[in-house]
């Protein structure tokens, strides 16, 4: 059984649906990142999981317990970090840790000392006198020093300088790896997510777009560039007109997709047939003598073959994508699909 399981979770604030029918399962020991634009429902999902909010519909279970019935016993195994959470700012760092320690029987004093040393935190300074980065580090210690089985982190990297981000992510990785901790975090910082997360869930408007292991996501996304040449070696126009992106197709393991067709609507002239444009080639861009698109189901051989079949004279290059590129591509594709859906 997965330590975090969400089934058809919906959460509304009045008439606003923050989360809509979300299904999510986070395997034990994994570091899962929730990414998405503002208002996607990341924080709400985490707060529901932490038991701070009750689901409007569906259910969320953590450590096998419905989050509406989380007790002291379960909370001792869960760490929750949210910068917006009220903190005892009148306490010094040391006092905060001393305050938290008795609450958790598994509090590891050695780990606390180690993290304090690593983060170079002044123990005698009040939380209210700390910079944002130092404050986040202090809070991170307070939710990791008891070696939680589940760690829920809301925007742990946001707004920090690279050094702090690096410190926090390193500390997070160490804690997760040493304690076989399952981590679910939300972030806008895709670079850090790529670095720490082994699973990525993209949310948009409360719905899930992508739910996949990071490595798989990176492996199946490629940016393909097709260089078109005249017979004499000069570049040949592709005649790509009015290109519109296709909706994202989900990769393996996806629970939900952007949906929608769009295959064959590329408008590429000179191609054998618009209908033959694969559905996983999305968002082609024409720059005159070059066609670029994203292959969301990249496989080297089949991609090469498909390109050769369509552009026998062209030079085909594939470039790996970063998680940031994938995120942007997916988000924009989804936005386009949504706009198209509204227009139709």
């Amino acid at each position: 059984m997965n330590p975090i399981e969400i089934t058809q979770l919906s959460r509304s604030y009045g008439r606003v649906d923050a989360v809509r029918g979300l299904d999510l399962a986070v395997p034990e020991g994994s570091i899962c990142a929730l990414v998405g634009p503002n208002g996607a429902g990341k924080t709400t999902t985490l707060r529901v999981l932490a038991g701070l909010l009750d689901p409007s519909k569906g259910s969320a279970c953590i450590l096998g317990v419905d989050t509406r019935r989380l007790g002291v016993g379960e909370r001792r195994r869960i760490g929750f970090l949210d910068e917006r959470q009220q903190q005892p700012d009148w306490m010094t760092v040391r006092q905060l840790l001393d305050y938290c320690a008795p609450l958790y029987p598994a509090w590891d004093k050695g780990l606390e000392v180690e993290l304090l040393r690593r983060f170079e935190l002044p123990g005698d300074r009040k939380l209210s006198q700390l910079s944002r980065g130092m404050r986040m580090k202090a809070l991170l210690i307070s939710v990791t020093a008891f070696r939680p089985e589940i760690l829920l982190l809301d925007e742990p990297f946001s707004g920090f300088d690279p050094v702090v981000r690096d410190d926090v992510s390193r500390g997070l990785l160490d804690v997760a790896q040493e304690g076989n901790c399952t981590v679910l975090l939300s972030s806008h910082d895709i670079e850090e997510v790529e670095r720490v997360a082994d699973r990525l869930v993209m949310l948009e408007l409360g719905r899930k777009l992508v739910d996949e292991e990071t490595a798989s996501l990176l492996a199946r996304h490629r940016r393909i560039e097709v260089e078109l040449y005249e017979e004499d070696g000069a570049a040949k126009g592709t005649g790509v007109e009015a290109v519109e992106g296709t909706p994202v197709s989900a990769g393996p393991g996806a629970g939900a997709t952007g949906g929608g067709a769009g295959v064959g609507t590329t408008g590429l002239t000179g191609l054998p047939s618009a209908g033959a444009w694969p559905s996983h080639w999305s968002r082609p861009e024409d720059s005159g003598d070059r066609i670029e698109f994203v292959d969301t189901q990249y496989a080297a051989e089949s991609c090469e073959e498909a390109c050769r079949a369509r552009y026998p004279e062209a030079a085909v290059q594939e470039r790996p994508m970063t998680l940031r590129d994938i995120y942007l591509h997916t988000a924009r594709s989804a936005a386009l699909a949504r706009g198209k859906g509204r227009a139709s």
């Binding site: 932490a50 909010l53 007790g71 002291v72 909370r75 959470q85 005892p88 305050y99 008795p102 609450l103």
Partner: protein, 523 residues
Amino acid sequence: MRILLHLTLAELRRLRWWTLGWAVLQVPGLVMLWSGDDTPGSDLSYRFTMLQAQLAFAWAYLLTHEVWVEAAPLGPERFWKPRPISLAQLLGSRALALLTLLWLIPVLVSIPFWCFWGLTVADWGRALLSHATAGAGGFLGGLAVAVLNPWIRRGITRYLASLLCLACVGILAGFFSYARYEWAGYRDSPFNEDGRLSLLVGAWALVVLVSVGLLYLTRKRWLSSLVLGIFGAGACACYLFLPIPAPLLTPSPAAESALGRLEGFQFSRRPGEREYLQVDAQRRDPAGIPLELRADQLLLEQGELRIPVFCYLRTPTQKGGDINDVPNFVPDASALRGAVRVAAPTRVEGWLLAQDPLSSLDPAKPLRLTGVAQLSRYSEDEVILIDLPRSYEGKVLRRQSGPWSISVRQIRGDLFVSASTRPRLASARVPATARLRFMDCTHVQVSRGTHSSGSRSFTALGVVWHVEQVDLRDPRCQTTSKLTDPKVRLRVGHEHGVGAVRVDAVIPGITMLDTLGEGSASK
């Protein structure tokens, strides 16, 4: 339980400055109760008791606000919510913290006083309940306000906070006023009549309003704080360094006229740097109108010892009712060196309070008293008339540091002169333990009995303090014991005390008489 205590201690640590301030604020009221003015149940005691009660209420409210509103337990963003703290533990810790702050701290501060006063178990219960009631009132008030709209809540809280500041200023100023006037020789602090205090309090309220207005208009907290600070410091300095008005004043025309209608009294005005009236009350008022002449102060002025007399007149039709107060009526009282001469009416008993005059007296020379300028009233309906001899001679007490008081009474033909280094202790007052050092005493006479010529009671801390005055004319009350230890410890009791105690210390050449109220006495 361990977690509960852990959370409670953290809460108390968070509120440590509140706790300290709260504890400190308990002390003045207790001290007032212990060594307040001479008259139990007096206006001053009452005012301070009420002031402290109001202060306790306001403080309890603010503490409740701090614990329940500022760090509200409800809401998803609260610190405790994702932590392994149950709601029961949280509420329990908050309740325990409030109980400690509102009830336990005042009780702990009071316990030494209660032990010192010798309260009985029943009185302890009442006092504990009294503290609990004050705390609960503030707590419920705070809780009620906590559920209000945030704007209203904030407004009420600011108002109460200002009120609390005001009360603090008032209580401090009251103490200063009390101390200053007592130091200046007043027997009763004119705290209630100190117009400058009222002015100060009023001005303070005005400045608080201005400060709040500035805060609202400029949104600059430092500016409003600066205004408050400057005014506060200036006001305190002005109040402290302004000279105290002399208690000697010329009588108002109305008072003079009222006195002039009395037969047997002649008034004359004597020119001088300061005008005063001389009382010649050798003859008794034939109409039998109850008359009280009371000398409250001795003041040294231009080498003369003067006794301002407060004259209370009561007509038969106004018996026990309207009293025409003719204040600051000065009889002839003169002669510093060697003798004190007081021209006095025939029916008098009184206190002569002196500070500098006695210190300048030569102990080797006899003290000559020709009268006493006070006729005291033991109860509302009874005026004790004492005939004094024309003169009395005795030795002057040895000089000691601090203010002296001399009391002259004539009881059953004997003249008693009372002296004390603490004038306040010489009257029947205070639920407190008095520690007196009798100089040159040969023996102490202790009187116990239930027969009293007058009693007064007042309530503080939920305990009815009852002070009786024992009439030494009752022979059943008298016992005599040899004083071997010059330090006589007197415990003044209260409603459930063992009875009244009167201690007479006989000094060679002069008799010291002190009435300290009821209770037990030991050597």
